[in-house]
């Protein structure tokens, strides 16, 4: 059954092609159903392959399969194949990518109702799913990069889907430019790995001898630059909050559940290349991002921007886990985060839909009555992200905090940052839930909030179940219950094991739960009971995300422009000068030989005769 792996990415591609050709004929809602069917089929294919893979012996690489379709670029010693790598890591990623993806497809059928570019939206979604699966299943860096660029392109298309809106177009452009920096890192890292190890295939990289410390660290950091671009880490995070200009299902799928976690996937996939020095940098930046973004989320008014900053913050957690060497914890959090963040985004989409495109939380309130299903599922998502046991978020976050605590160099400090972030997370999410679903009605009289259709609420319910119970795939209570860890273990060179005793573990867990509860309490006191004045809780400084974004803009506009101007001058004088010189030389040469093209047959015949004579003479010359 594992041979069917090629079906997983090909089904969305097929859907894409069908929509490409017949999309405008299908129209609404058939185009949506077609796309959903292919996404669902892809999920079923993933399940089948998973069953096949589980049937194999887990020892000694028994669950790693490479399927080479064809040799793609035979370029001298560099041999790039187009092939799939099926192993526990890729199937795990594929499982939630297709699962969550299919649900979001279903949700979009209702959400995109009445949009003039209805079928095009689903076309992009299917293309995105295909690219994401290529990224996950690629058996070498180049194929992954292809998927990487593919998801990027789909992301830009989808962010600026409503391109008539100025802000959407700008946001798409911003995402594109920021991601280029990351792509640059990816490309340089690929070349560096090739020159150091002579291969770009994952299985061969995994079996190669270690690179020298300096090269290894450089490659690791370049890979991290790539990951930071795609996964919105400091300082390249700025595009993600703006990416909320896209339709909400896109925010849920591309910018929360799947694409933004591809940076995490890349680092986990390359785990044996990462050096300790690089890991420390990754841990510090991850923790800083987590804290920074959580602070920013505290003061947002837009329902989706809160979730966007929250996503950045949660991604910071994942990088903190990677930096601490706990790759399984990172993947675990990727999965649980996909569940609850997709749920929250889809819930917010349902709210926006019900409120007729109102996104400002100050104009909501008490929506739990008008939108019971959305309210209930959103609350489950909130409990999951806030780290309340036994919801999914608690288990993965707890594991990350434990890993941070055990980090060799600055463990306790990282743990404290993580803990503060957990507290803030609980606070801002509670604030959001209260502002949206509780309190007084603050919307205008002409707005009539209503519950969404079944195609939208069904995914919410499914995801709510997953967000509630998703932790079950890796429960730390009994060693045998660590299903995910045992499943993923074969792909790691140095499996991570927690060294702390049971008492420490329980103490840390209690503290993190307490932090979550404190965050919730503060929110309840200030936003529900109004015991704490709320006007100081939303400082402008945080609302504007500490002015990072605007200072980028100012640097680019101010001193940056001067720098760019200088570069442009250099380019114009030296580079262009050279190129223009060459171009002029070419033109001169052309003008020199142009008269031969006179249009007169007799002259052409003379040319042929002279050429023949020249060849004859040269050949005869060779004989003399």
């Amino acid at each position: 059954m594992v041979e069917l792996v090629w079906l997983i990415p090909m089904l969305p591609l097929l859907g894409f092609l069908i929509l490409l050709i017949t999309g405008h004929l299908l129209g609404e809602p058939r185009a949506g159903w077609v796309a959903t069917a292919f996404a669902g089929a892809s999920f079923i294919a993933t399940l089948i392959v998973l069953v096949g893979l589980l049937g194999k012996d887990s020892h000694a690489g028994g669950r790693s399969y490479e399927f080479v379709l064809f040799e793609w670029l035979p370029a001298g010693s560099l041999k790039v194949e187009a092939g799939f790598l099926l192993d526990p890591l890729s199937i795990t990623m594929a499982l939630f990518v297709t699962g969550v993806g299919a649900l979001i497809h279903l949700y979009s059928i209702g959400y995109m109702h009445g949009d003039e570019k209805y079928s095009k939206f689903f076309l992009y979604l299917n293309l995105f799913l295909f690219s994401m699966l290529m990224l996950v299943f690629g058996n070498n860096l180049v194929v992954t990069f292809l998927g990487w660029e593919g998801v990027g392109a789909c992301s830009y298309f989808l962010i600026s889907f409503w391109h008539r809106r100025e802000s959407a177009a700008t946001a798409g452009k911003k995402a594109f430019v920021t991601n280029r920096v990351g792509d640059w890192g990816f490309m340089i890292a690929t070349f560096a790995i090739w020159s150091a190890l002579g291969t770009v295939t994952y299985t061969e990289i995994a079996n190669s001898p270690a690179m020298s410390a300096a090269t290894g660290t450089a490659v690791s950091l370049l890979l991290f630059v790539a990951a930071a671009g795609k996964s919105a880490q400091l300082p390249l995070y700025v595009w993600l909050p703006d990416a909320m200009e896209g339709p909400t299902p896109v925010s849920a799928m591309v910018h929360a559940a799947t694409m933004v976690t591809s940076g995490v996937y890349l680092l986990v996939r390359m785990n044996n290349v990462l050096t300790d020095d690089a890991l420390l940098v990754i841990a510090v930046i991850g923790a800083t991002t987590a804290l920074f973004a959580a602070l920013c989320a505290v003061a947002q008014h837009d329902i989706k921007r809160v979730l966007a900053y929250s996503t950045v913050s949660q991604l910071g957690y994942m990088f903190l886990a990677i930096g601490s060497g706990a790759y399984v914890a990172a993947i675990f959090h990727v999965i649980t985060h996909a569940f609850f963040k997709a749920l929250l985004f889809l819930g917010s989409g349902s709210v926006i839909h019900g409120m007729h495109d109102e996104q400002d939380m100050r104009k909501m309130g008490a929506l739990r009555i008008a939108m019971p299903i959305t309210g209930a599922t959103f609350i489950i998502g909130w409990l999951a992200i806030a780290g309340v046991p036994p919801f999914a978020g608690f288990w993965s976050k707890d594991e990350i905090l434990l890993a941070a605590w055990e980090q060799k160099n600055i463990g306790p400090l990282l743990w404290v940052v993580g803990l503060v972030t957990a507290l803030l997370t609980a606070y801002y999410m509670s604030r959001q839930v209260i502002l949206v679903f509780f309190g007084d009605q603050r919307w205008d009289d002409d707005v009539h909030p209503h519950e969404s259709s079944w195609t939208m609420t069904t995914p919410l319910c499914v995801l709510a179940v997953a967000a509630a119970a998703g932790g079950a795939i890796n429960l730390p209570l009994v060693k045998d219950w660590l299903v995910l860890e045992h499943f993923l273990e074969p792909i790691f060179h140095h499996p991570h094991h927690f060294s702390s005793g049971t008492a420490t573990k329980i103490a840390l867990a209690v503290i993190s739960v307490a932090a979550g509860l404190i965050g919730i309490s503060i929110a309840v006191l200030s936003w529900m009971k109004r015991r704490i004045p709320t006007d100081r809780l939303e400082p402008e400084f945080l609302e504007n995300a500490m002015y990072v974004d605007s200072s980028y803009a100012r640097v680019v506009g101010g001193p940056g422009t001067t720098g760019f101007q200088k570069t442009a001058d250099f380019d114009r004088r030296i580079v262009d000068g050279g190129v223009n010189g060459l171009a002029r030389a070419v033109m001169k040469l052309g003008q020199l030989i142009q008269p031969t093209q006179s249009g007169y047959m007799r002259n052409y015949a003379v040319g042929v005769a002279l050429g023949a004579l020249a060849i004859l003479v040269v050949l005869a010359w060779g004989l003399l």
Binding site: A75, M587, Q594, L616, V618, L623
Partner: protein, 496 residues
């Protein structure tokens, strides 16, 4: 009784099965002429197009069967070893049939639009295709010459068929006179080869040259030089390329596509068969000349293309520079180089047919200023993208077949330690890319004033463009199958 058995005529054995592809084409040509002569009214264009397409497809199926036979039983030859049945000949048969089908489709819309007599055009096209196949398959210089003339005479008339247009007649006369001129060189070359080796059969020539050491090679050298001149003219290599821009510009666009793809491919087929296969033992003598030809062709093609303002002339010079790339592969005189040349020709056929399909659909043939293409990106977005892909493929941009083709050609030169030529190829590729990008830019620059009315496109044009673009991308993304196909088609001379 005895006398009778002496007198009884025993002809050479003929493998009719192997001759079937071109016999089907000739049969279709005769059928079209017969029907058009018998029919009381004007014969309808759809009928002839369908007949030609059916002939092309049937031939292709037969060729596929032949290919499998050759792969299984090995190559052979027939009719007293004058006609090769090997991977090489079937490779070119398939290439020519693809071009035939595409040209038939393109002319479908074109002939009606321009009021040209369809049956005559198609009959000539079919004869021309049969001639090209014979030329690529011939193991004998005389047979090769017959094929070349069948190919060329059909072409001369097809160019001139647009009899209301001065330019078409002018270019037909130019091509005819210069073609006859170069044929004379070729014939003289054949005669001298016969003088030097005692045969016109390539197998005999190879064996003779391999066995005999000449005391005095002048005759052979002169023969090689003249053969090279004659074939260089057909493939439009500099300095025998002068006719190309004028003729390409004046000829009806479907015919230009046919000329650029098939005449060039058949010319290279003959060149490879004669020089790579038959003159293999004297490669030291001919490779330097061919590499000089390649260098001159590359430079002239790229440089002159930049100076043009007419799209058809640009593409004519681009076709000259493509000949230069193939010559690079030819001069390597290795199996790798020859496979690269075959790969190049196959992919080039698709690119150039698609390109001239677009050019032909862009309006009357009188002139094709670049300005006509302004705003095409807006008025015909899908086809503009297709045209862009085809042009980028000609420029050799990665993910298109053109990149793989150029890459392999340059790799062949590098493996042959001919770094100068490899470097020159890369430089001219850059210079040439500028010209293609100029056309692409023109399409996407919005120029409200110059937005000329773009005529509606016939469905057959769209089919051809889409098919050619599809193949160009396919061969660029997964070139392996085509690389293997080309490697299996390297020419070998086998006595039948």
């Amino acid at each position: 009784m005895a006398t009778q058995s002496v007198l009884a005529f025993v002809g050479p054995s003929v493998n009719w099965w192997a001759l079937l592809p071109q016999m089907i084409l000739l049969g279709a040509a005769l059928l079209i002429m017969l029907v058009s002569a018998l029919a009381p009214k004007q014969t309808s264009t759809p009928f002839v197009t369908v007949t030609t397409m059916c002939a092309a497809i049937t031939s292709y199926i037969v060729a596929t069967g032949l290919w499998n036979d050759v792969q299984r039983d090995g190559p052979s030859s027939s009719i007293a070893s004058a006609f090769g049945i090997d991977g090489f000949s079937i490779f070119f048969t398939m290439l020519i049939l693809v071009a035939l089908a595409a040209t038939a489709l393109l002319s479908h819309g074109y002939l009606d639009k321009e009021g040209i007599d369809a049956p005559e055009f198609h009959a000539l096209l079919l004869c021309s295709a049969a001639g090209a196949i014979v030329m690529a398959s011939a193991n004998d210089l005389v047979v090769m010459f017959i094929g070349l003339e069948a190919l060329s005479i059909g072409l001369y008339v097809m160019i001139a068929m647009h009899d209301r247009r001065q330019e078409a007649r002018e270019s037909a006369i130019k091509y005819f006179v210069l073609g006859a001129f170069s044929s004379a060189f070729l014939l003289y070359g054949i005669a001298l080869t016969y003088g030097a080796t005692g045969s016109t059969n390539l197998i005999h020539i190879r064996d003779y040259l391999g066995a005999v050491v000449f005391r005095d090679q002048h005759l052979l050298m002169a023969a090689m030089a003249l053969l090279l001149v004659g074939l260089s003219f057909k493939v439009a290599a500099a300095p025998f390329h002068f006719w190309a821009p004028d003729v390409y510009q004046g000829a009806p666009s479907p015919v230009t596509g046919w000329m650029a793809s098939v005449a060039k491919a058949a010319g290279f087929a003959a060149l490879l068969r004669i020089f790579f296969a038959a003159f293999a033992s004297h490669r030291i003598d001919w490779t330097p000349i061919v590499s000089v030809l390649a260098a001159v062709t590359l430079v002239v093609g790229a440089v002159m293309a930049i100076l043009q303002n007419d799209v058809k002339r640009m593409l004519a010079f681009s076709s000259v520079s493509h000949a230069g790339y193939v010559l690079i592969a030819v001069q390597a005189a290795t199996d790798q180089g020859t496979a690269a040349a075959l790969f190049y020709l196959f992919t080039y056929t698709f690119m150039v047919l698609g390109t001239f399909a677009v050019v032909g659909a862009m309006g009357r043939d009188d002139d094709h200023p670049l300005a006509n293409y302004a705003g095409l990106g807006r008025s015909r977005p899908v086809l503009a993208i297709g045209f862009t892909i085809l042009l980028l493929a000609q420029a050799g941009i990665p993910t298109t077949s053109g990149f793989v083709a150029k890459f392999q050609v340059i790799a062949a030169a590098v493996n042959n330690k001919n770094y100068v030529l490899a470097g020159l190829a890369m430089i001219t590729a850059v210079v040439g890319a500028f010209m293609y990008l100029r056309i692409v830019m023109a399409m996407y620059v919005d120029n409200e004033e110059q937005k000329s009315s773009v005529p509606s496109w016939h469905w057959s044009t769209k089919v051809v463009v889409i098919a050619m673009v599809g193949f160009t991308l396919l061969a660029g993304l997964v070139p392996q199958f085509l690389i293997e196909f080309a490697e299996d088609a390297v020419p070998i001379l086998i006595r039948g």
